[in-house]
Assembly symmetry: C2
Homo-oligomer: 202 residues x 2
DNA sequence: TCCAAACATGACCACGCGGTCCGCTTTTGG
DNA sequence: CCAAAAGCGGACCGCGTGGTCATGTTTGGA
């Protein structure tokens, strides 16, 4: 389609600097991170930011895209793991660890970013569904759990842990373990509400 | 101490209007809710807002204070319930329902608001600790759960459910049930991380 | 070596924010 | 019924924001 010629050397370098700086700033200040701060951290003029990313949302989308894609790749790899239950737990662990080093939880409030993001996200949803199906079939998780549940619960451990200001950076592990215990078949009580319908087709 | 004479009739009315409007606006837009919008919703001038609450944070603190206090009252009542496990679940249900009708989750980012808020919050923490201790002694929850865990997990169901834009308003019930199953002794796996230290004494 | 195209820059713009202030209106108590 | 006190409104201020643009600088192929 729009086969763009390769970036000039300095432009490519600045783009990487910007992505790194933006990730850091977004992690620190959420959506309120300012373009000026990002530019400063990258050692670059403010105008340069907008040359690479037309809009603040575009910049955010570029970061989010990388994260979701990496998560999807990890998930697909885990599909071939022998122990389906362990594979699901491992996936959640990877997701939490990723989220710990760069908290993008605020993107909840961010409306549909890019259409590109939507596509990659749909892919990841599909991968998660397959991971969950496999785990459910082997009896590693309770029967009344859907893929959408895991996608939603994925972010909970970090969220919970983030309420403690000066906590150990590994505190999320505790809450992931608790939540995962709630997903196991042993001692499961019936759920009072059906799972949500998937938000994005496929 | 500072025994203030009672508010004038119109002032008292406006104060209530402001609190209601602010709650609604904060719920909708988080901390980014604007004073101007709050004033408009209350049918009041912007100056009036600052007459009642010196600062935006003070306004937020007033709202938060009510919520935490109500929660604490409910918790103290539940301390006298016969079934300690059911009492804890009921507490979490009340907390989630309250949070569902007014999401104040963003106050995570809000630093220490008021000293008043800190006091009431410490009281609530204490109440929760007693609820959890009781439930643990009766074997209703696993032995390795601390009061701080419940305080942290309290907000998780709403958070998780809020990721689905057009979900049923009761979706949180599903995730509260899952998480509570993870708190039960049956099928509990050892936790990989100790509980956090309480952030506020007592 | 040279030059056109690609890129970087930071002053600049319009805007919305939290917060202030003072002239005006409403309430209250005697 | 009336003055004094309390409350109200909204124009106004300074600031930081996302985004633009004209000007100057760097790059890379010929």
């Amino acid at each position: 389609m729009t086969s763009t010629r390769p970036l000039r050397a300095d432009a490519a370098r600045n783009r990487q600097l910007l992505l790194a700086a933006a990730a850091e700033e977004f992690a620190r200040h959420g959506l309120d991170a300012s373009i000026a701060d990002i530019a400063r951290r990258a050692g670059v003029g403010k105008g340069t930011v907008f040359r690479h990313f037309a809009t603040k949302d575009d910049l955010l989308a570029a970061i989010v895209l990388d994260r979701i894609d990496a998560l999807n790749t990890a998930g697909e790899r885990l599909l071939h793991e022998a122990d389906a239950g362990a594979a699901l737990l491992e996936f959640l662990t990877i997701a939490a660890r990723q989220r710990q080093q760069l908290d993008l939880s605020f993107l909840q409030e961010a409306g549909e970013l890019n259409s590109e993001v939507g596509k990659v996200r749909a892919q990841m949803f599909h991968t998660v569904n397959r991971l969950v199906d496999r785990a459910r079939e082997r009896g590693a998780v309770r029967a009344d759990i859907a893929g959408a549940d895991i996608i939603l619960l994925m972010c909970a451990p970090n969220y919970v842990a983030s309420y403690v200001p000066d906590a150990s950076p590994d505190l999320w592990q505790r809450y992931l373990a608790i939540i995962f215990d709630g997903l196991r078949p042993e001692g499961a009580h019936p759920l009072p509400h059906p799972p949500p319908v998937a938000e994005h087709g496929a």
